[in-house]
């Protein structure tokens, strides 16, 4: 039973991960994916919060979406990541007895949640889940994101995933990719999947205290910083691969930040 729970959680996590920065509706062969995204505040050269939400529905009535087996998210060129003042967590801590509460508070990168599902016979069983993002490595150019997935009822799930933040080809900038294992749930049942999710990463108003030369100093963690220039919008792309062999690609352009130069 424990093995089944873990598998279900992995599926959930996989599906959740797709959500981050995207925003649009696309119809794949078997899934309709709707994504909304925003930068708040949307001000050129300023720290920001990237939020996104998604709903994934099967095109077949009465069916749950196919499980996600991988996804990629690419942010706009010029969007930078400033990790000064942050700490790091590790997979060992997240999977240890302390769980996410054991991570340094300044390693928190974001939050989220949503609704997962699996199908047993003709019955669809839904399960809410939460997401926590932590920095696994905060060195510039070597940033690692840790994604902790937690679900409580009806099945207890705690899983951790890792993604390396990389530089993507133009017109994109930073991006990351998660590989998701294919995960069965119960004998005779469908693999688990995600029906909806939301994610919120970074914030413009994060401050931590650290000791500098013995004195307590308040440090502004800038995190995600919007570009100062923008040409017709900020391009964001997501690519979600499903178990049924389809891939859903979503390209969108978010509004140019206020005060940005063309």
């Amino acid at each position: 039973m424990e093995r089944v729970m873990s598998r279900f959680g992995v599926v959930l996590a996989a599906l959740l991960g797709c959500i981050c920065l995207v925003g649009a509706t696309t119809a794949g062969a078997a899934e309709n994916v709707t994504i909304h995204a925003a930068f708040t505040p949307n001000k050129a050269g300023s720290p920001t919060n990237a939020s996104g939400s998604t709903t994934i529905m099967s095109t077949i009535p009465g069916e749950i979406p196919s499980p996600i087996i991988g996804f990629t998210i690419k942010g706009p060129a010029g969007l930078t990541l400033n990790t000064k003042g942050t700490g790091t967590c590790s997979v060992a801590i997240l999977e240890g007895p302390a769980g996410p509460e054991g991570c340094p508070k300044n390693s928190v990168a974001g939050f989220g949640g949503g609704m997962g599902a699996l199908k047993l016979g003709t019955q669809i069983i839904e399960e809410p889940f939460t997401l926590n993002f932590f920095l696994g490595d905060n060195r510039p150019g070597h940033t690692v994101l840790l994604l902790y997935v937690n679900a409580v009822s009806p099945v207890s799930i705690q899983l951790t995933f890792t993604a390396v933040v990389e530089k993507e080809a133009a017109p994109y900038g930073l991006g990351f990719h998660f590989n998701i294992p294919l995960i069965p749930t119960l004998p005779g049942a469908s693999d688990a999947t995600v029906e909806s999710a939301h994610v919120s990463i970074g914030a413009p108003n994060v401050f931590y205290y650290e000791k500098v030369h013995g004195k307590r100093k308040r440090v502004h963690v800038k995190g995600l910083i919007l570009p100062k220039t923008c040409h017709g919008g900020l391009p964001v792309e997501t690519s979600i691969s499903f178990q049924d062999g389809t891939t859903n690609e979503t390209k969108l352009k978010l509004p140019c930040p206020k005060g940005s130069k063309k």
């Binding site: 047993l120 016979g121 009822s153 009806p154 005779g188 919120s200 994060v206 401050f207």
Partner: protein, 241 residues
């Protein structure tokens, strides 16, 4: 056939668990702890009111949306010489530029939010200010400022109104949402303590301990409303001088 039956049983059990979990909603409750310093009949005093919110299942309490604080009959409130500061000024300037005479107290608060699978707590400093009268009634505003991990500020506004026995007046306050991150839950007040007035000095005459005391002490009460539309009430007394 056995496999199908067991599968259906598991499904039914999981569904039942899900419905039970959804249906079980823990209530938020509050307790108040008032005190006078000093507590002598008829003298100038500092009133400290501590309020603690808790969830009966140990989770983060629901965000507070409004509250009514009932003050004991006979508590004298003298606003002579007390200036005023507008809510707009407090929100934009965080108290800077407000007349010093408008500041009537201070305190602190602990707020928290359950984000994802972790609890984030934050300490906030509070300052209390007299606001402009509304409809001829005195107002009190409390500016809360949190600095880490999220830099946030909120202004709570309250109107002083007549109350019924055993109380004399009540402070009716609205509490704005305390945002965290886009799409995430608002923060909740876990504990707060505010002191209004003083025994001596500029605020020495603002509040005076009632000259007479009921048998069971000075009565205080609190009615609290929460974001999930639930509410709770509580009472407390300060022993007679």
């Amino acid at each position: 056939m056995r496999l199908k039956l067991s599968t259906l049983c598991i499904a039914a059990t999981l569904a039942l668990c899900a419905s039970l979990t959804t249906g079980a909603q823990a209530a938020t409750v509050a307790s108040i702890a008032p005190s006078f310093a000093p507590n002598h009949a008829g003298v100038g005093t500092a009133l400290t009111l501590g309020i603690t919110f808790s969830n009966q299942q140990g989770a983060v309490p629901e965000p507070l949306t409004h509250m009514v604080v009932h003050l004991p009959a006979g508590l004298s409130i003298n606003l002579r010489g007390i200036g005023t500061c507008s809510r707009a000024h407090l929100e934009k300037q965080l108290g800077h530029g407000c007349p010093a005479s408008a500041r009537v107290g201070s305190g602190s608060a602990q707020v928290g939010a359950h984000l994802g699978a972790i609890n984030l707590n934050e300490h906030a400093s509070l300052t209390a200010w007299r606001g402009p009268n509304q409809g001829g009634r005195s107002t009190l505003q409390i500016l809360g400022i949190g600095l880490s991990p999220l830099e946030e500020h909120v202004v709570l506004s309250g109107v002083l109104e007549p109350d019924s026995a055993p109380y004399g007046q009540k402070l009716v306050m609205t509490v704005p949402p305390i945002p965290t991150l886009t799409g995430e839950a608002n923060a909740s007040v876990l504990h707060t303590s505010v002191t209004i007035g003083a025994a001596r000095g500029r605020l020495g005459g603002l509040l005076r301990v009632p000259r007479t005391c009921p048998a069971h002490g000075f009565a205080f009460g609190g009615d609290f409303g929460y974001a999930d539309a639930s509410s709770s009430s509580t009472t407390a007394t300060i022993p007679c001088p």
